[in-house]
Symmetry: D2
Subunit: 348 residues, 4 copies
């Protein structure tokens, strides 16, 4: 098998493995190590990640983002407890019903603003406390950066954490793209999440350049025992864990996470700047991370999809998503903008 | 991070990645490819695997063995249907309750003979058909090679398949070590499983030298749609699927699966031959794949564990498990036998 | 223990057992009968109910309404399939998360109009068909009469059934108060539900005067086997089933269901007419069944609750619910209206 | 509908409602009362039941026995925790997979002795503590009286409680026939269960003469909040709760529970004495409660089933179960024995 030639803006998981991550895998590939995380690599990277989040109570590596989210929320919720999230949350729309079927968790979703929640949106859902006929809100889950390419400021995070904590809820972050958010905020991973009161998070590695790998980071000591059992039970415990560990070690070395995310964000900005000037293109969301959302005429979208992969986000609205990655090049952006320009002109 | 120096007989998943599998990952690591299996690598390897199993109806790559088992059984069972398995089945004792909690499936377990079931053992469990107070048996699940290092002959497989099919059940194989069984039987993967009437199986890649990767192989067309949804919902759908595909492609190339399994089996035979001659060691299970089970005096076990990793299988009985892998060397075996001999002598 | 003196408008389940239903229980209370529905009473009433719904494929008696709903929906949905419902549906807000935790079913809720859905509201939720990342809509569930006291016309039912069937969905009715709706429409139970294309329904007995008892009625033969197993597994299979059967037999005899529902509806109309004329009271929902919703000044609500039981529906809006029952008397209504008038006057 | 003429020994739930229980229902059947247990009857009987069990921390009325068991065990177990029980436990063989599918709980079953467990049988199952690959035993569940008509002595209960508590487990009792056991032991309900260290139990009402009704009794205060939510979520919360309460009130009044159980037990003893003397009948289990198990020639069983209802317990062994109830009469016993004698003679 040989590598694909096609390039595009479909998703940050359409990119391959960052060379430094692949090298890290190769570097630990000899000899024997106990499986399931009982090896020195895993223990070391768990500590390193705990430190990176300002002293987390526990770190649990997992295979993928849906897995990290579902395991984390299963640990947080008793059977009658619910999770508040935005209607656009990955949890709510892209995990195949796993929160409900695998976790048994009811999601209480509310329409966000460009994927973001505010205390005013959340508060009405914290209701009917003590009434056994209603699920009891236990977790407020947000996405940082959001599925719509926006980023919570630290003030916004703190306000949501305060609301959650005032009502005895935990604040959970789906951080599949936490690196991109941190870069936008000019902060480290802790600063963009746990430093503002986040209790539990899924840290994405895959979209940040790993082969596969996410980390559940938890600030609450009482959740570490549940997480250990639930990761296994939820089918997210890798046997050859050292290779997940090595990848995260690479991510934390020489700020790889930051370099990759900064590049992806920069490419998105570049793309947005270029397409924003084109007649017939309307940027629909603040471009704060590595995604550009835009409305384009349907015929243009169809023509452009012949040359580049990307997703139609909202068929009815004609909204598309263009996602940049650690390996998106300036040439990619330029070629794409040129093609888009051509398609727009051809349409007149 | 650098590779571990320690060697042992803890598990075939204590070994690393076969160089050919790692090379295959690197070979597809450039450019962009749609995620979640919608890429040409995955499609190609799905076909190749389907062919290797005599024309499977569907092939679904997954992260790990518990995942492949649970997804497969979820697809096969309606909510009131049960799975018959041996008491020693991985499903029953090593998946953290996932079949029950994640799959909602009751396991009807029966004591096997060195990990193997027979029609006579299974038939009494196919009972109370049509009685809504009792779960209804739907799947007979066996492990090939078993958790106790034994291998079903093709006659034994055919007899179990006949029993299952006569009662309208499916025959499922947990094939985490199917390669080892096939080598023992002198057959290909199909011959050691689906060729004898197996309807659904989990094909192990990880223990056969991959970083991570298993394949759900299904012979029944009606299960392909459920498997597609349930793999995603059960948190087993990888985004950068091409890297799982590339590993399986390597496994099927130049018979890598066979070379690796044959080597592991040969090392186990060599080990069994050597330790079987030592006074104070009693081999407890037929050595038919890559595992050696033995009873050794507890003090010897304790001393030996200082030097080599392995698992105590049954504390009360003093039974231990020594597992060989694709990368176990003759030197490993010799060093281990020498150490065991010394520990036995020291004990007199 | 002796009967309570207090009367009110809290719920139709705050009333006791209709004397005819209690007499029916007593009438079958001697001798022995096989449990779990294998008795002649149950078989007879199952047939009688099937006839009442125009020839249902199956009828399954259950303990309570949440049970009937969850069992019915479990039978209809495969693990990755979802149920569309109104945000105010009992399923969504009053079943303690049972659809999700017990059924594993994701509810796709949408804001209704006085508790009712329309094709225009539902259609956008029938999306992403075939995409394994998203749950697949399988059932459209509505409530007849709704939780807000409104009733679907037969045209409205037919339009929703057509939409559902066009997309391969089933139309489910939570008919906890189907009797009330049928009376409003001047139709029999079939006419107000299955006659208009409903595939699956929960028929309420408890709120219509039974001690306890609901019936799952299904028009699709392929769901009868699942329903039989799932009723048992979902903890809804009564052992002394003849007493549930006898109650439903009473309900169908001399149109008890109709007499009771007509009376309750009439009392609600009377109540609405009377309070609608009072200054300071605003009726908020069309009064089409046995419930009256109104906005009343909070101080009045507080004062009135000293004398009569009823529920505050929406604290923030000051909206209350007054529910009439088969045993609500004209005197109850008059006393209540008088008390309300007094509370309103006292407030000036 | 009129009452059935047929009599038999099928089950204690083939009997109807004890007249005192039915009278109690009628006595509270007027006026309005809040639903779902928020009424004075329920509160009173909860207290009365708590007292009857030596000061229980909580009492929760439920619809049926499977429901009471599943709700109780759900409250006790976190998602990775398991329940140890006898292979013959109702939980394990007669609840349609509800513990696994509804509760998500793996049952660790072990072959009992006439339905009873001993510390020696249980202890080996308390293993692999702290190993996330294995479910963690949390509850030891026994049945008192057992499904095989035997009764645990108080010494046996205390020994099991001690074992459970020493390992941090809870002792749960399925007390569908606790009344029968208490009568056998000459103790009150507390003495035969919670007085010996039982932490959590299902108290059967239905088999003891109620229309329907069971009570979950819990000695651990920390389980009362979970039980409240889980009863609702598990579809076991009755709306017109006062009628369940009234029945339990009757059961506790003038020792109705005791009178009924004593009568049933006496009839079983009488039956066992009579049939035990017949040639061709072999009593197979100690007759300690209200059940008689016997081996009878299959042809005799077939002939006898023409006249009386009862269950074949073990087809292969020719073992049948004859169950006596509160309403079994001496005439029933005599007629049955006479018929059995005739069938035996006819067979020669």
């Amino acid at each position: 098998m040989s590598a694909p030639a096609r390039r595009g803006f479909a998703s940050d998981n359409a990119s391959g493995i960052h060379p430094e991550a692949l090298a890290a895998i190769a570097a630990v590939n000899s000899g024997h190590a106990f499986g399931y995380g009982h090896d020195p690599y895993t223990r070391a990277v768990e500590e390193r990640l705990a430190d990176a989040f300002g002293g987390a109570a526990g770190v649990f590596l997992a295979f993928n983002g849906s897995g990290a989210n579902v395991v984390g929320l299963r640990a947080a919720c008793r059977p009658w407890e619910a999770v508040i999230c935005a209607d656009t949350a990955h949890l709510n729309v892209d995990e195949g019903g796993a929160p409900e079927r695998i976790g048994g968790i009811k999601l209480l979703s509310v329409e966000g603003e460009h994927g973001k929640l505010t205390p005013a949106l959340v508060e009405p859902l914290i209701a009917r406390i003590g009434d056994e006929h209603a699920v009891q809100p236990r977790v407020l889950s947000i996405t940082q950066a959001t599925e719509l390419g926006t980023v919570y400021t630290t003030d916004e995070l703190r306000a949501l954490a305060a609301l959650a904590h005032d009502h005895g809820l935990l604040l959970h972050v789906d951080g599949a793209r936490l690196a991109n958010a941190a870069v936008t905020l000019g902060l480290d991973l802790h600063g963009a999440s746990t430093g503002c009161g986040v209790d539990l998070l899924s840290l994405g590695g895959t979209k940040n350049g790993l082969l596969a790998g996410e980390a559940i980071v938890v600030m609450r000591a009482e959740l570490t025992e549940p997480l250990r059992y639930l990761r296994k039970q939820s089918l997210q415990l890798a046997s050859k864990m050292r290779f997940l560990a090595a990848q995260f070690d690479a991510l934390l070395s020489d700020s790889l996470w930051q370099r990759s995310a900064a590049h992806a964000n920069a490419m998105a900005t570049r793309l947005a700047d270029a397409v924003g000037r084109l007649e017939g293109v309307r940027i629909t969301r603040p471009v704060q991370a590595n995604a550009v959302f835009a409305v384009v005429p349907p015929a243009v979208t169809r023509a452009l999809l012949q040359q580049f992969d990307f997703y139609v986000w909202d068929e009815a609205a004609g909204e598309v998503r263009w996602m940049c990655s650690w390996d998106t090049t300036e040439e990619d952006v330029e070629a794409f903008v040129a093609a888009l320009r051509e398609c727009l002109l051809a349409r007149r």
